[in-house]
Amino acid sequence: MKIDSIISGNTFVIHLFGDVDHYSTEFIKKYIYDNIIPDIKNIVFNLEGVEFMDSSGIGMVLGRYKEMSEKMGTVALVGVKGNMERIYTLSGLYRIIKNYTTIDEALKSIKLRDGVYE
């Protein structure tokens, strides 16, 4: 598991690479806690570089969604594909967390959403 990130306004854009399983979600959570700043209220997970993700990944995304919701923010995904898409649908995650084709698209929709809330 490799992680890169950038901060764009009040959104934390996190690029994940490799396998997202129970072991690596602990690492991802720690990375977020170590690097997040108080202003951030949205997270975009870029999953284009993810080769494998199981239900532990769903749990981790849902956990971040709950935290961002408390700040009136949200979580968005980019690049959900293959079996990841099947568990994303199966778990009902897609109903609350949207998947976008590009990071720009995700950021644009978050900005629109912020406009409505602010």
Partner: protein, 136 residues
């Protein structure tokens, strides 16, 4: 018939090893990418369950696989505390650890990605999951 067996410590860093060991064993059958990914997903869920739920102070997970022509079978077994109510554990979105960010999707994923699955468990003896899939 071809078979393989591995035993490893119930530690989360061994989840990737478990997935890769099973998919590596299957490789000679040239399974489709979908079958391979489905099996990796199901094995990952079963192994993660054993690692998270079975033991308080560590233990062993055993994986046993058989291939008969195109029929693939994988058993994931632990010797831990067992599942008290299997029907409840298999219910979608149910988790016995609601504070640990578990999605409660493990069994649902195993059932969806494999052709069939049977679960047996005995208190303080352990849990055994047997899954089948026909390779296409």
């Amino acid at each position: 018939m071809n078979k393989m067996e591995i035993k490893f410590d119930a530690l989360s860093q061994n989840e990737a090893f478990a997935r890769l060991a099973v998919s590596g064993f299957l490789l000679y059958k040239n399974p489709g990418i979908n079958d391979m990914e489905d099996i990796k997903m199901a094995v990952s869920e079963a192994v993660t369950n054993s690692i998270i739920h079975a033991y308080k102070d560590g233990g062993t997970v055993r994986i046993y696989c058989e291939i008969h022509e195109n029929e693939f079978m994988v058993t994931v077994e632990d010797y831990g505390k067992g599942i008290e109510d299997i029907a409840l554990a298999r219910r979608p979105l149910y988790t016995s650890k609601p504070h640990e960010e578990r999605s409660g999707m493990g069994f649902t994923i195993m059932e969806t990605f494999m052709d069939s699955i049977s679960v047996s468990s005995e208190k303080d003896k352990g849990t055994k999951i047997i899954m089948y899939k026909e390779l296409k």
